[in-house]
């Protein structure tokens, strides 16, 4: 292997309260294909953002061709030959392929008007298309291209900038099998030309297929690197897991009862060929684990009536029900604490009291009008119960901390009569204290007979809080685990699509 041209030395990145990267070293040699693997939240994307100049590291240095520097700007990263193919592609829907590849660098005719020289533009793009074996023309409108084709456009953009290193963040997560195969061939072609690749992935078979080296991150630390000869799914999983999980588990007061919510062969828009079946029992917390993008949020949205269900059925207490809108779900006692509380969970300009009463305003009526005294009174009660830290219930929710905002979302549903509560990432972006308070509340709810479905990407949370775990992989349930089977290893095995 030739000498590395790029080295990350001792890179750290801390956010208030969180260490995202902890003294990470990484060397990249020309023509090397490196797979970056690790669980959700291990720091993979942060590391790549440091390399792409998007995130400034808190410590450490970057050495390019022997020159040391503390951090990159995006422009410097591009100049150093580092190109980033983003998970959400940064392309313009309203331009054609060539326009996207040379955006901001269009060849122009001479003269004061600087008109775009379209012939020169297309002439420059054509060889790139051939190099990647692309099946579209330089003047194809981007809007008509598939996701896989758009990815090639991004790669062409990188190559047109003479990239020496192409970083891809989960490039295959939304590709079909044939598209993935073609991308693997493109990667092999780039490698043959001496271009290095770093790709983040959750699919271990892809790592086996094309990586020269796998680098494993866990909790922001580099826990190991496997050479081509050492690569095996078992070895990778062994490195990805194995941290100490604090036990948060509080057992339920009584064994779970009958199934309250039955999801039977449910099909969502994102995975039209896959169906999900699961049931949540009275008094239990069912953890729904899986990798980001495995279809968990989409399932929750379909159960709550935000998105239509494309197939299958939902039964509540054994009776089939139809949920066409969130209103219908709420009337059945099925409530959702959504993933993004700022955009869907709360009205940030409304007060705490107004947010809490919103789904149930008709029960605050006095002569057709909203009885604000009752509204305030109930909000105060919920504030006590959930320990919402705010000067008053008239305070706008937008000025509260993340943990207190989440408690307001919870208070909204607890003021009503929940039968099934669905939590999507209940404690994302929340400080430790508030986290524990929310877990305690979950247990109190299930002890009162509520069925809880908890979607979580936080391994510690899933294992520490759930009574049972269902794991999703690419739009389907890949397995259920009872508490006796709980382990990081088992959850991860199922999450990447293997069996245990």
């Amino acid at each position: 292997m030739p000498e590395p041209f790029l080295e990350l030395v001792d890179i750290s990145k801390t956010y208030p309260g969180v260490v995202a990267l902890d003294h990470v070293d990484l060397k990249v040699a020309p023509g090397e294909v490196i797979a970056l693997i690790g669980e959700n939240g291990a720091g993979k994307s942060t590391l790549m953002r440091v390399l792409g100049g998007v995130v400034e590291p808190s410590g450490g240095l970057i050495r390019v061709d022997g020159v040391e520097r503390g951090s990159f700007t995006v422009a410097e990263a591009i100049q150093a030959g580092i190109a980033f193919v983003h998970q959400e592609l940064n392309l313009f829907d309203n331009l054609d392929v060539a326009g996207n590849v040379f955006i901001g660098r269009e060849p122009v005719h001479g003269g004061p008007l600087r008109l775009i020289n379209r012939q020169a533009l297309y002439a420059k793009v054509r060889p790139l298309l051939e190099r990647l074996g692309a099946d579209f023309e330089p003047d194809a409108p981007l809007a008509e291209l598939s996701l896989a084709q758009r990815q090639l456009v991004e790669i062409m953009k990188a190559l047109s900038l003479d990239a020496r290193l192409v970083i891809m963040d989960e490039p295959t997560s939304s590709l079909t099998l044939t598209e993935t195969d073609r991308l693997m061939r493109v990667i092999a072609g780039l490698k043959a030309d001496g271009v290095s690749i770093i790709f983040i992935t959750h699919r271990l078979n892809e790592v086996m297929q094309c990586a020269d080296r796998a680098v494993v991150l866990r909790d922001g630390r580099m826990v190991g690197a496997l050479t081509r000869a050492e690569l095996s799914p078992a070895a990778m999983i062994r490195l990805m897991i194995g941290r100490d999980l604090k036990s948060l588990y509080v057992p339920p007061a009584a064994p779970p009862g009958e199934a309250v919510l039955d999801i039977v062969q449910a099909v969502t828009d994102t995975y039209p060929e896959r169906a999900v079946s699961l049931s949540v029992r009275r008094g239990e917390i069912l953890g729904l684990a899986g990798l980001v993008g495995s279809g968990r949020t989409e399932l929750a949205r379909a159960i709550f009536g935000v998105d239509p269900l494309r197939g299958g059925a939902i039964r509540l207490d054994g009776t089939p029900i139809r949920i066409a809108s969130p209103r219908a779900a709420i009337e059945h006692g099925i409530y959702l604490v959504p993933e993004d509380r700022k955009s869907s969970g709360l009205l940030l300009d409304f007060s705490i009291a107004e947010n809490i009463s919103l789904p149930d305003l008709s029960s605050y009526l006095r002569l057709w009008l909203v009885n604000t005294a009752r509204e305030t009174e109930n909000a105060r009660r919920q504030r006590e119960r959930l320990k919402i830290r705010a000067p008053d219930v008239e305070t706008a929710v937008g000025s509260l901390s993340g943990g207190n905002q989440q408690k307001v979302v919870l208070a909204k549903w607890l003021s009503m009569r929940p039968k099934v509560l669905i939590f999507d990432e209940p404690t994302r972006g929340i400080d430790v204290g508030a986290k524990q308070e929310i877990y305690d509340m979950l247990r109190r709810l299930t002890d009162a007979g509520v069925a809880v479905l908890m979607i979580s990407s936080d391994m510690e949370e899933v294992i520490g809080v759930s009574d049972r775990i269902a794991v999703m992989h690419e739009g389907a349930i890949s397995g259920f685990l009872d508490r006796s089977q709980f382990s990081e290893h088992n959850v991860l095995q199922l999450a990447v699509g293997h069996t245990i």
């Binding site: 720091g43 300009d349 409304f350 919103l358 305003l361 993340g402």
Partner: protein, 340 residues
């Protein structure tokens, strides 16, 4: 009354005082009564507009609806001998129907409100002109509806002041709208949908219905204003009647604290906004400013008002930002933003 409304009231009093100082005729009973009558008519359709702006929409066809429904109303009672009460009900129903169509196009067909109501502006104006063959519609010689005229365009002496009935109508409309917007469940829903439709939906609000209702209310109130205006002008040239009225309505709503992004605004503010616009109109007349400058004066004052508001808001934000650090130490959020 909130701070915004209060500063608007002060602005009105200052402008009024300046006008009085330069031309004391401003305070003559006749002048005040006429200005009040204008406020009454314009205030009603400005409140109508406010409902749509609060849910984050826009209604551009107000002026054309006023022309079309005004023409139809006069035609019904003068040429077709329809009982005026029946005609009244029919016109209001027509306004509600227009609102229903607009609301449905916006929510179910997902067409932008600007486009829907711009098409409405063109269609209704054209329909009004075609219907009358571009001729002026009015009351023929001798045609007389004493009760209707008294109710809509009459004035009652209150403590020596001839109070126009349009002002009474505005007062009633504003009172009902105030209760609806600021005290009822539906009002809460309007603001919620205007602020963040997604969060409103996640809280179980049927946002489509709320949006359609706002357009329906707007259509009904506009129809009511159309009748008052028709009875006041007594003759309608369909090509110009009511033109630009939608812009008066939007201006009044914006002056009254409505944000075109939705979710904000108060009824008192909208009424005060209407008052300010009419006082400005009056100012142009009384101060001998060429009436061609009418719109320019109005535009300038609105711009200054909005800029001043922006300035005050930034200052308020700066002071609260200074006060914040001590407040949030206890609850410092340990955001794990971007950790992966």
């Amino acid at each position: 009354m909130n701070k915004k409304d209060l500063s608007l009231l002060i602005l009105i009093l200052v402008v009024g005082a300046v006008v009085t100082f330069i031309n004391p005729r401003f305070l003559l009973v006749g002048n005040l009564s006429n200005t009040a009558n204008q406020v009454g008519m314009f205030g009603i359709f400005s409140i109508a507009e406010a409902f749509v702006i609060i849910i984050g929409g826009i209604e551009l066809s107000v002026g054309s609806v006023i022309a079309l429904l005004g023409v139809l109303f006069i035609d019904l009672i003068v040429n077709h001998d329809v009982n005026w009460m029946l005609a009244f009900a029919a016109i209001i129903a027509g306004g509600l129907a227009i609102g229903l169509v607009h609301g449905t196009l916006v929510t179910r067909m997902h067409i932008q409100p600007f486009v829907v109501t711009l098409c409405g502006l063109l269609i209704y104006r054209g329909a009004a002109r075609y219907y009358t063959e571009d001729a002026t519609a009015g009351f023929g010689f001798g045609a007389s509806f004493p009760t209707l005229e008294w109710l809509t365009a009459g004035r009652t002496n209150v403590l020596g002041f001839p109070l126009p009935h349009s002002v009474v109508a505005l007062f009633i409309v504003a009172a009902i709208a105030w209760v609806l917007l600021h005290r009822s469940v539906f009002g809460r829903y309007l603001y919620a949908v205007g602020k963040n439709e997604e969060a409103a939906r996640y809280s179980g609000i049927r946002s489509d219905r709320v949006v359609i209702s706002a357009y329906i209310i707007c259509g009904g109130l506009t129809a009511f204003a159309a009748i008052l205006i028709a009875m006041y002008t007594r003759s309608i040239s369909p090509a110009v009647h009511g033109s630009f009225y939608e812009l008066y309505a939007i201006a009044a709503a914006v002056l009254g604290g409505c944000s075109l992004r939705g979710g904000e605004g108060s009824i008192i503010g909208v009424v005060l906004g209407t008052v300010l616009l009419q006082v400005l109109q009056n100012l142009v007349n009384l101060l001998g400013i060429p009436s061609s400058l009418n719109f320019a004066v109005m535009g300038t004052v609105i711009l200054i008002g909005v800029l001043g508001d922006q300035y005050l808001m930034q200052r308020r934000r700066a002071t609260t930002a200074k006060a914040r650090p001590q407040a949030s130490v206890a609850a410092a959020p340990l955001e794990r933003a971007n950790a992966e």
